[in-house]
Symmetry: C2
Subunit: 238 residues, 2 copies
DNA sequence: ACCTGAACACCGTTCAAGT
DNA sequence: ACCTGAACACCGTTCAAGT
């Protein structure tokens, strides 16, 4: 239709903030967040590094924008989750949060980035939180309790919890294991005991945690606690 | 006693791994973690940057070491907390965790660093966790439940929770506020409602969260939930 | 208007020397 | 053995110039 090049037809899609951010997410998905340099990002877009600065102020804006892209995906997915008609607030909130968690599985760098920069005030994030709070208020929690609930959930509200026991690739070195295990048993008997029980329950000694189960366990613990506060005193802890 | 210089008397304390790490903590306490460069750290110690590499392999080792220093402080403080004699496991664990939290107040960079690098496997951190698990096991929680409990606590076990609603300095710009508040009320009605209630309860609109209260609220919610699981079915969630 | 090349000020780190 | 100076390979970013 349009005659001038780059009007609507676009031979190569013109550079834009949106395209920059999406490319950044792609780079991070492939190579991790450390692989994301301005030069690498430019290369991905077939352009010189300095061209990026016409669409984003600096790298910080790129990082914030990436969080926005991910939370945007979360919002999209959350709005598709259909809830059983008579579902209680716990079920609804649970569904939202687990949907959010699913998105993070595609972007393993996202949780750390969300925490590192405190991107809480972007419209995308605010929209997500607003929806979550709406569900709780509709469920009969007082405004006060909803406030505390958000704090109690912390990053769980956004679908992740910092895994303090991350997979440690080096740990599978089995020569060290034999010696280490004895050392461990001596010096940290209680950790050892817990690890033993956990590994009897399921997978092997290392990489022994079912992350999905543990996430849901913690989430349910908090939601159940909140429900109990709702039905009794309301507002204060303990 | 010793004749040779640098044996025990030490005119200027010789460079050592320990002195490097302590200096690093000092730099981060003053200027934040971003201020910590190898060159700045060397300068702090009155030495050339490259001298550091005789005591630490690289910057990563410095960062891991800093976490160790902080968790070392936590262990020191935790061991001083005296518990009332007939105290239950909840009180004991609560006391440990809140003592840990106190330490982080001196090192605001530490939580983010602990999460960024997964320093869970250092002896210092393992000792802390072992003690925490010991308290729970002694309190009658099954090994299985202790395992889930650690996951549910997440970073709270180490005395912090990522504040998703961090203080935002810029937000105090009151010219923007008037317009923003209306915008906020329109677009995010539930957030607005919760903020209003919270600000009526105590301090002003912004910086409206009592972090200490919220931390204890979340902690108690989890501990109470665990106690309930202990006294009933044990082991599984929900 | 958008994009570029060269350059600047900074990193962490290596290497060959110094004592 | 410990420490140093110069250098290398990378950053993010600025600036003057191209079209």
């Amino acid at each position: 239709m349009a005659g001038r090049a780059g009007a609507g037809t676009a031979r190569r899609p013109a550079l834009s903030r949106d395209r920059v951010l999406r490319a950044a997410v792609g780079v991070a998905d492939e190579g991790g967040i450390a692989a994301l340099t301005m030069r690498r990002l430019a290369q991905e877009l077939g352009v010189e590094a300095m061209s990026l600065y016409h669409h984003v102020a600096d790298k910080d804006e790129v990082l914030d924008g990436m969080v926005d892209v991910v939370v945007g995906e979360i919002n999209a997915r959350v709005s598709q989750v259909d809830v059983p008609d008579g579902a209680g607030w716990k079920t609804i909130v649970r569904g939202r949060v687990l949907a959010a968690r699913d998105v993070h599985l595609d972007h393993p760098w996202a949780p750390a980035l969300i925490e590192a920069r405190n991107t809480t005030m972007s419209p995308t994030v605010l929209r997500y939180f607003d929806g979550l709070m709406a569900d709780m208020l509709a469920g009969g929690l007082s405004a006060d309790l909803v406030h505390h609930a958000m704090h109690a959930l912390g990053s769980r509200a956004l679908g992740f919890s910092q895994e303090l026991f991350e997979e440690n690739d080096e740990a599978s070195d089995s020569q060290v294991d034999a010696i280490m295990q004895q050392r461990m048993a001596d010096e940290y008997p209680h950790i050892t005991q817990i690890v033993m029980v956990a590994s009897h329950n399921g997978e092997d000694t290392l990489g022994w945690c079912d992350d999905q189960f543990e996430f849901e366990f913690g989430l349910d613990l908090i939601l159940d606690g909140l429900e109990q506060l709702r039905t009794t005193a309301e507002g204060g802890a303990a």
